[in-house]
Symmetry: D2
Subunit: 287 residues, 4 copies
Amino acid sequence: MIRLQYSLELAYTVLTPSADFFFNFHPAFTPQQSVVQEHLSVNQAGATWQLQQDADGQRSLRLQAQSGPLQLNYQATVEMRHYSDDPESIAEVPLYQLPLEALRYIYPSRYCQSDRLAAYAYDLFGQQAPGYARAQAVCNWVQQHVKFRSNSSSGTTSAVDTLVECVGVCRDFAHLMIAMCRAINLPARFVTGTDYGADPALGPPDFHAYVEVYLGGRWYMFDPSGTAIPMGMMRLATGRDAADAAFATIFGGVTSDAPRIGVVAEHDGGQWQLPVHTRQGLSTALV
Amino acid sequence: MIRLQYSLELAYTVLTPSADFFFNFHPAFTPQQSVVQEHLSVNQAGATWQLQQDADGQRSLRLQAQSGPLQLNYQATVEMRHYSDDPESIAEVPLYQLPLEALRYIYPSRYCQSDRLAAYAYDLFGQQAPGYARAQAVCNWVQQHVKFRSNSSSGTTSAVDTLVECVGVCRDFAHLMIAMCRAINLPARFVTGTDYGADPALGPPDFHAYVEVYLGGRWYMFDPSGTAIPMGMMRLATGRDAADAAFATIFGGVTSDAPRIGVVAEHDGGQWQLPVHTRQGLSTALV
Amino acid sequence: MIRLQYSLELAYTVLTPSADFFFNFHPAFTPQQSVVQEHLSVNQAGATWQLQQDADGQRSLRLQAQSGPLQLNYQATVEMRHYSDDPESIAEVPLYQLPLEALRYIYPSRYCQSDRLAAYAYDLFGQQAPGYARAQAVCNWVQQHVKFRSNSSSGTTSAVDTLVECVGVCRDFAHLMIAMCRAINLPARFVTGTDYGADPALGPPDFHAYVEVYLGGRWYMFDPSGTAIPMGMMRLATGRDAADAAFATIFGGVTSDAPRIGVVAEHDGGQWQLPVHTRQGLSTALV
Amino acid sequence: MIRLQYSLELAYTVLTPSADFFFNFHPAFTPQQSVVQEHLSVNQAGATWQLQQDADGQRSLRLQAQSGPLQLNYQATVEMRHYSDDPESIAEVPLYQLPLEALRYIYPSRYCQSDRLAAYAYDLFGQQAPGYARAQAVCNWVQQHVKFRSNSSSGTTSAVDTLVECVGVCRDFAHLMIAMCRAINLPARFVTGTDYGADPALGPPDFHAYVEVYLGGRWYMFDPSGTAIPMGMMRLATGRDAADAAFATIFGGVTSDAPRIGVVAEHDGGQWQLPVHTRQGLSTALV
């Protein structure tokens, strides 16, 4: 089992009389991930906020702030007990048997135009035996096809752009993998977390984007950018793509500093272990 | 109140050993729309199917057919009692107060890249007073900007294409209106129905695509292509855009004939009236 | 040597008071291609036209017609004596030594966005030894990557679309090959001709689009769609891409029938031979 | 008449064994623009270069440098005597009479997809009387539609993007105006110069991009970004769009500093006058 100490500092300046913030930085509640304790403080007396939880266990904070500086400090202790399974035993679910909840993740979305990639994906993966290994093959192909480069994409960059231009950040790797999976009728979705285990050369700890594919009746994690250790990627928000699951969506005139994130894994030689790479299929999703 | 006799004939030939069909042609169940009686017949002995209903009252049919001809005949009697309100009394809901369900319809989607249209939409509608009239202004602008031409778009045509090329069919008008609304932070979504009242010169009765905007705590109908009479547009499926709400999604090798659709409104001088154009705000959505 | 009998019938109806036509259907004059005799007849008494020749030997016909039917009949006898060379002996020209005329064909154009494909092309061909064989490798790759399907593209389809969607007609194969070549700094351009040798299953004889790459101080022909026999592809127009070299550009309200094209190769067992596939590098361009 | 003192300092570091540079920073030679004296110095002993002039009077420098620092210093005295005419007297040239040289500038190019903008442009300008005033109306519309913002676009941003996103720098304004002009069959091209008269708040003196439209048998200047004084925009390179006329195209591994540009206008109360805004049609192009 994994136990993470997660801290977050956000600093903004609101330039308009007020501004609305929609945040997705709280760890989700799922059977595999629990929050032992957490604390949020907001420095602005005039700010109001509410925390909401959806049917998937995702928690969203909406906050209305007034003109002036705004700081949020959040810290939590998060425990994860991953569902884990042998890749060889994880089959694809036939289309006809997909639950409605999974079915909606085979359709194209803003950044994952799977409708346009049908032939491309079929050429690469159409002949491969269905199963976890096929999703893994998509993941590996994306990792090879795309080169990680900081600041190489923008808010309008989509899977088609990344396929063509072969460069991106973790969100772009995720979008391309999702689009390719959907193009071969594998339900796939976008998840945000934190980049535990990322090479410090890429910068300070940061939010992360990865992929879940619906296989064997469950959502399994894949990390197509290969920059983090999946076992340590605390789950935050889920969506069709980055349009749904941004860590922050802001309405109003606001300047911001880079978020400061800390994630430390406890290890005591017994119950709590450090996240490590594994070839097992892992899941933290509410089924 | 409106009472429609709806009939549908679908004819396919399955070329592969089997094929999966996901249909959205059943009228939705909402407080404003009820199905008095309905009957579905499928000609193929080997076909299996199931009908599912989601939390919004939308009904989806999934069907697995075997190689060979496949015909579906569906007929239903549908009654609609629209929620109706005076446009002047319908306000916009402040962002901060949007329910989660509405909030997810302000984000961009496959065919509605509202993120790219922010400045364009703001220039046109940013200064206008919030409310139903502003959504109507978007609708009117789309109707003026785009010219209806049959077969002028394809399955990959998006709101950005329609904005630039100024031509499309009902689905393209809907996508552009949705994108423009979201760009000014109005939740908007894609609805399919039937094109009651459409000019026969445009062809035989057909499925239709229109828009709902979340205003005053409710989803109001808009018909940006202006080709149908909204009061007669029986509600089928709802989604972020056409990616979610296609009348049929087919997996397998299949040829198809054009669907044959019939919609007849009853009128008896009393309870049942013919659909007419109205300037009232109308809604058939489950709130 | 090749001797072709080329005939063309074009039929239009001009709906506006007048219409302007810019045609590129005359065989070009180059040292490798000569027109022994030709005859053009235009059925409309009120039509005026002029034929112009540019510095590359390309001939353009501009014609102004009046309202009503318009028919053009053109026939010519064309002789081709291809420049031919051993692929192993054809080197790439270092960038620094490219003549200005060739240099302008390394820049991106409307349908060949080579600027976006730099990394993709470099991954595939960047490590390969420079020379004719590298251009041939690009040609072969395009032929494998893209599937020929009639009517699968439109007037706005570009190399990026074809790369992503893996389907197209001869013009799309040409655009993708051109974009890939430019992306590795090989000057490449678009040429139109006729599809001598095409499989009759693809339809009646038609115009064709192919590619020229500047190698060893000369423009060599490549046929990425692989649908014709290069030795029989009579040269018509040259440009950066289809935007420059359309067989007809029409201004005014006009309906048209499909052009009727005939190309017959003479063979007498002596001087005149039938076009055949060859692995030699071929050129018909004015150097 | 205008007399400018033009100076330019360029500093690079070549990281690869060698690198090729194609520069377009020399003032063009035209009947309206002459270079009284000029001097180029290159600091690198191992560098070789040559200057070429094309039929339009544009001068291109190609330079091959070795690994290590590379500095170019260029200075010139340039005299301009603009062709000037009364806008009311400048007519459009009928398509049928366009010279081949102008005709090629009505086709779409990499960054100016006029083929997609036909309906949009026709709606705005199709009914307007032909002539200089119509080109000016396009220029004014672009200036209103697009907002200038430094660093808001990238090397792949095209006219369609700028139309949709309503933001850009001078090159984007130029691309949109060119695309709109071509869409109504006005030949239009891209010209680079220097931004004499630009607001110092936008930064130090810089290269500039503007537009020429073919009217009355001559190429007239338009400055759609409105950031400079056209009379002082020394002419450098001409092309279909920025793909053709970049100030520098570099092949090899190179880092660069921002170019340092100086342009000073002489004024002596007599022969030499300061550039001023005028409503006259101006031209510096070789006809």
